[in-house]
Amino acid sequence: WAQCMKFSQSQEKYLIYGKYKITLYLLDLFESLSWARAPAACLNFNCMLILLPVCRNLLSFLRGSIQFCSRTAARQLDRNLTFHKLVAYMIAFHTAVHIIAHLFNFEFFMDAQLNRNSSFLPFVLSEIGTDDNASFLNPIRSNETNPTIVMFTTIAGVTGVVITLALILIITSSMEVIRRSYFEVFWYTHHLFIIFFIGLVFHGYGRIVRGQTAGSQQTNKPHLCADRFEDWGKNESDCAVPEFAGNPPGTWKWVLGPMILYVCERLVRIYRSHQKVVITKVVMHPSKTLELQMRKKGFHMEVGQYVFIQCPSVSRHEWHPFTLTSAPEEDYFSAHIRIVGDWTQALYEACGGDKTETQEAWKLPKVAIDGPFGTASEDVFRYEVVMLVGAGIGVTPFASILKSVWYKRIQNNQEVFTKKIYFYWLCPETEAFEWFADLLQSLERQMAEKDVANFLSYNIYLTRWKETEAAHFRVHHEAENDPITGLKQKTLYGKPNWDNEFTNIASKHPGTKVGVFLCGPPQLGKSLEKQCLSHTEGDVKFIFNKENF
């Protein structure tokens, strides 16, 4: 909506602004000039905005300060990538309108030169200023050219083509298919934005859009003199020949600030990447998951945050995000990295994953960390009763949360506000269980020792299985420990019956606010949200929070 307002405001501006009245006559009263200038104004605004959401460090810093004021504002900052994409779509849209309008403009400017008839106002206007080459109106100066040539010989034209091409290449390489499969293409092509911004700033330098000078507006008032153009400059009429000048470029005023902020952001990232990070332990989990335990001076994290990891020996320019799986109370921080592509495979080999003997500490590769960057997981501790739902790999932030809750409750003996956690893990395959199952096993053991077995109630749902496995489950149904996870709590098969679950929880905890946290696919989010709404009655309130990765 902000866009539409800006658009119409600009349009109005160019219609009534006295300076451009005569320019409009040049275009035979077609309003294509305002149709071109209005999106240009919107483009200025959007190009200013687009750099801001990707300044992660700046956002993180802002988030830290805003959190003290308002938690909802803090959460808005997490949707930065969605905002970036939205602004990008608006830029593409406005560019299209701008180009189409200018196509019409150029056509009419050309018409004005070709139709050499002195009773045709546009032609008369085009002839003005031919001698001194300064006070002319029509950017097309002769009739022996055509719009394409003009475009390639003016600064505005050339920069326009270059930056539009850059924009198109950026957009096609940012399509989801390309981004998910070939991140390098996306990342390197996206750097064309540097060319985009440089071209954008210089786009107006040729001062190609011209309007009547202020002085001339006194001697030749358009609404009085427009019809009497044959008499301009003659002694009897009070209409002098009008004079025109170009508009100074204004885009730089909008984008200079964000450009400087972005440069600072990249410098901060470079600085952070040079800070020493030590890998203290590498664990290879059977489910093709690599766990890296690291330490860095001055590193401070909150639950559920993520970091960007770079390994110069694997790739100099790639930074990949991973959720932190350790709790803030531990003296190291860790990330569990699934081996799914080139970079992760190379990292695995660099850490000696394919070798059977243990590696010397100095042989481990150097890594750099950027972050941690935040999500809203800290809210978990604000609820007395919590439902945590993680689907597949989405369980990773919850590893951090569970560990942290455990540390807070037991080791520090603090009075934790959270009294009961219901944990649901939905998984399509058994392989991903292994490392998380270890965590649950140790929690289970520790809870049994401290006799607080009721604190955490977890349910693991296997949503897909092969026939051969099913036979194995049937046979071992009576065993004491679960055949897959080795936990005392049995694995359940299929999808959970949310209605039942919510009803149970509501009946066990009347009069409380239950926080529901999800990290998983959107459809699951929608159904959970519906359940929250339908079960929030009487004194039990279910509040839905969604993580977004």
Binding site: A96, I99, I100, L103, F104, F106, E107, M110, N146, P147, T148, M151, V161, T164, L165, I168, L169, I171, T172, S173, M175, V177, I178, S181, Y182, E184, V185, D342
Partner: protein, 185 residues
């Protein structure tokens, strides 16, 4: 850059160029610009390029995501056999199609974009990629193994029910000598 399939990006770029060419052509014709014949050509060329590029190719590695409703286009494109399979042909075709667009301002952008797509296709062709149709997989049930046709004639050598019940509690006592030989003699 690892296992990039350039054709995936070339496809996105070419589809976008087709749309831009089409849009430029429509503006040229609707506004009755000078040289509107080129604009009319651009409309036709744009539509053709879009139809050709809409069906995504099957990836050599990994899962392919089809565009919605691309099955009928896949069938049409597949019918041209080697002409559409080979990316050299596509690269030169796009290069040839884009040239007339350069003669008119409204279609110049489409022309340049298509030219870039043609270059990326050339890179893909040099790396040996080719277009594969994404067809719905027919689930082939594994052919029924020979042995199932002949069910066993004799029952398996199970111990009598009393001994079976003992097995659950006492492994030692459940052991017994099988009356018939179980090895291939």
């Amino acid at each position: 850059m690892g296992k990039i399939e350039w054709a995936m990006w070339a496809n996105e770029q070419a589809l976008a160029s087709g749309l831009i060419l089409l849009a430029g052509g429509i503006v040229g014709v609707a506004g009755q610009f000078r040289g509107w014949e080129f604009a009319a050509y651009a409309v036709a060329a744009g539509v053709f390029v879009c139809l050709l590029e809409y069906p995504r190719s099957k990836r050599a590695k990994g899962t392919s995501v089809e565009r919605s409703g691309q099955y009928c286009f896949t069938v049409c494109v597949k019918a041209f056999g080697p002409l559409t399979r080979n990316y050299y042909v596509r690269a030169f075709l796009h290069a040839a199609i884009c040239v007339p667009g350069g003669f008119m301002l409204a279609t110049v952008l489409g022309c340049v974009c298509l030219g870039i797509a043609s270059l990326i296709y050339l890179a893909a062709a040099i790396r040996g990629e080719h277009w594969e149709p994404i067809l719905p997989r027919k689930d082939v049930r594994k052919p029924v193994a020979e042995s199932i046709k002949n069910p066993p004639q004799n029952p398996p050598p199970r111990p009598p029910p009393e001994t079976r019940r003992k097995q659950a509690k006492d492994l030692e006592g459940a052991a017994y000598d099988n009356p018939s030989s179980v090895t291939d003699d």
